[in-house]
């Protein structure tokens, strides 16, 4: 193994933490200020933001707990309360936090959130239903379930889009109006979308630097920069953040600075599935010494990859289109066919050498058909892939030696094909 590689850390990414911390601090203290709080899974938090509610998103909370090192202790509380370790760790994390508060079990105070006035359960998977059911049954939370079906075939897209759009118009918006006691604020939703459009456009410009050989940044850098296109949506600070990031990447290109020193990457990789929020550093230490850099992935690419389609003048329509429009077809990537289409495009766009299919042991939707996807793509593009089992936040699902062996075997397969 050549141990000469070292990360060239971006300066701008240091500036995301204060933004993220402020978001969670505002959420923690919302009730003290008499503000309403929502929780959400699936693409529904924008409706809460439009109504001036503080809101958190399921995966965002997991990312945050991973970042502050609180995941393990919160998961332990869930297990003490009877949650099975095989169930979705995002679900367990929320149950653990709720149980810790209800039972007075001390956990990291930064991980404690107020129980919501409304939980919008956008059900992309059975686990999201489980999560919503748990909140309602165990903590008495009011739940608004909406269905967000995966699209297996593109010809189904228009009618599913219509179904989802009608749920937004006929169920979600009236419920928020009732909970907040005021008419839905379409203007605010338009403003949020305008900011999102700017941020996502800048972000796409940053994505171009993944195409450089050597790449100027890594997927992990983007992973920590994801909040402005996610739960910091509508916050103008996100525009400033991505402007600065873009400038730094441009400077790197001009000065010939790669993502990893001294000369850039030996292996350009794709990452499938969730990001391992609590283990980003652990994985980084398994990539960099080998000269491996992860450049793109299915989950991080879900966040509004087509900002040109965002039409703030028609906020609800555009929101449905962003997930279910024929052009953006985000939810289509949840199907094996859609996954193959997306990864195939990424292989071409980013000149990838190999695929890492991160298979979370507690998430079935993301893992669907990963072995077959590797097989199909290997036959078509001639690049190898491996399945790496683990979890986003639960260390009980992570086996260091197994992960090391699988990743190293991937590097060896790439080497062997180059010969």
């Amino acid at each position: 193994m050549d141990a000469k590689y070292k990360v060239n850390r971006l300066q701008t990414t240091n500036e995301i933490r204060p933004l993220v911390d402020k978001h969670w601090a505002d959420l923690r203290t919302a009730k003290e200020r008499g503000e309403l709080v929502a929780w959400a899974s699936g693409p529904s938090f924008i409706f809460a933001y439009a109504m001036g509610m503080k809101c958190h998103f399921m995966a965002g909370y997991a990312a945050y707990c991973g970042g502050i090192g609180a995941g393990e202790e919160v998961l332990k509380v869930a297990e003490m309360a009877g949650d099975l370790p095989e169930t979705c760790s995002y679900h367990r994390l929320h149950m653990g936090m709720g149980e810790a508060v209800a039972r007075g079990i001390p956990i990291n105070p930064q991980a404690i959130l107020p129980m919501p006035d409304l939980m919008v359960a956008g059900r992309l998977c059975p686990e999201m239903s489980h999560y919503a059911e748990g909140l309602h049954r165990r903590f008495g939370v009011r739940v608004l379930p909406i269905d967000l079906p995966a699209v297996v075939d593109m010809e189904d897209m228009p009618r599913i889009r219509e179904f989802v759009y009608r749920q937004f118009k006929e169920v979600v918006i009236p419920t928020f109006e009732e909970v907040c006691g005021k008419p839905f604020d379409y203007d605010r939703m338009s403003e949020i979308l305008s900011v999102l459009k700017k941020v996502a456009t800048l972000r796409n410009q940053c994505w171009e630097f993944f195409k450089d050989k050597p790449s100027r940044w890594t997927l992990w850098d983007y992973g920590v920069s994801i909040a402005p296109v996610f739960y910091l949506m509508g916050n103008p600070a996100g525009v400033a953040y991505y402007e600065k990031l873009l400038k730094e990447l441009q400077e790197r290109r001009e000065k010939g600075i790669p993502a990893i020193a001294p000369d850039g990457e030996k292996y350009r990789l794709y990452w499938d599935g969730w990001l391992p929020w609590a283990f980003l550093g652990k994985f980084m230490r398994k990539f960099i010494p080998h000269g491996a850099v992860v450049l793109c992935g299915r989950y991080p690419w879900e966040f509004f990859p087509h900002p040109e389609l965002i039409d703030p003048e028609h906020p609800v329509e555009t929101w449905a289109d962003l997930y279910y429009g024929m052009e953006s077809h985000l939810v289509y990537t949840f199907s094996p066919k859609g996954t193959v289409d997306l990864i195939g495009k990424l292989i071409d766009d980013y000149s990838l050498d190999g695929l890492i299919m991160f298979s979370s042991k507690t998430c079935r939707v993301m893992n669907l058909a990963q072995p077959e996807v590797i097989d199909v793509l290997d036959k078509k593009y001639g690049i190898p892939g491996v399945i790496v089992e683990g979890d986003m936040i639960d260390s009980a699902m992570i086996s260091d030696a197994q992960i090391e062996t699988r990743l190293q075997a991937l590097y060896e397969m790439i080497d062997s094909r180059r010969r």
């Binding site: 042991k361 097989d375 290997d378 062997s416």
Partner: protein, 263 residues
């Protein structure tokens, strides 16, 4: 041509193979890894050197593999056991396209291309189900020597299902099968079939392509070999000493790297 060594430090056993400059096996060693992998690697190399009538300085290049590959102090480089098993099996059986390796604590199925290189692979996860350790625990539960497990398979007269693949649950299941009056041979055969069922799923993921080689310590259990053959409906090629295939592959790679350095 230089003498080289391949050292496979597995969870249960450490194996060393020494090759001469022509790629011929001069000696090999198999010993328990114990709890101190570094010491096991050193001792295994010493044992192999002694068998070959060589001394440490005679080895020009050493390559480590296996879970404890990082513990081989003598190693000039390390390569995963995936690549090493594939290379070893392909040298022994050039027509191989699939390797089933069941070692002490993991099992893997490796797809091999026409050029002898790895095309894809799957490994079991961190659970020990269906591995050498699983068989050891089952042998204890049956009160037989692990070496007898294979023979017992062929003495089986009645089909008994062992449905649990968790080592701990399977042990309880074996005890309850005893309590219900089932015979040792039938239970041993049930255990072999349970392992075969698990391997079948992994073979399905990689895609079965003949010829199929079985390596690893569990390949010494003729009952498990037969059970897998029945399940995948093809014969397995089992090397004379299946436990050293990974170390042999490591030595082959060491030899190539040495040649490249000299060449």
């Amino acid at each position: 041509m230089a003498v080289v060594a391949g050292v496979d430090v597995g969870s249960l056993c450490t194996k060393t193979v020494i090759l001469d400059g022509n790629g011929k096996i001069l000696s090999y060693d198999i010993m328990r890894s114990g709890h101190y992998y570094k010491g096991a690697a050193e001792e295994s190399i010493e044992n192999a050197l002694k068998s070959a009538g060589l001394k440490k300085g005679d080895i020009s290049y050493t390559l480590g593999t296996g879970y404890g590959r990082g513990a081989v102090a003598e190693a000039d480089a390390e390569v995963t056991e995936i690549t090493c098993h594939a290379r070893g099996a392909a040298r022994l059986f050039p027509e191989v396209h699939t390797v089933i390796d069941i070692g002490g604590q993991d099992s893997k199925v490796i797809g091999i291309g026409d050029n002898g290189r790895v095309t894809n692979f799957v490994m079991n996860d961190k659970c020990a189900a269906g591995t050498g350790r699983f068989l050891e625990v089952m042998a204890l539960a049956l009160s037989v020597d692990i070496g007898e497990m294979g023979d017992l398979f062929f003495a089986s007269k009645e089909k008994v299902d062992v449905s649990s693949m968790c080592t701990v649950f399977a042990e309880s299941e074996v005890i309850s099968l005893f309590a219900r009056g089932h015979k040792k041979a039938d239970i041993a055969a049930g255990i072999a079939h349970a392992i075969a069922r698990r391997i079948m799923g992994m073979v399905g993921q990689v895609g079965l392509r003949e010829k199929v080689v079985m390596s690893g310590g569990v390949a010494k259990n003729a009952g498990v070999v037969r059970a897998i053959e029945e399940r995948i409906e093809t014969s397995l090629l089992v090397p004379h000493e299946p436990q050293i295939v990974g170390a042999f592959g490591a030595a082959i790679i060491a030899s190539e790297r040495m040649s490249a350095t000299i060449g």
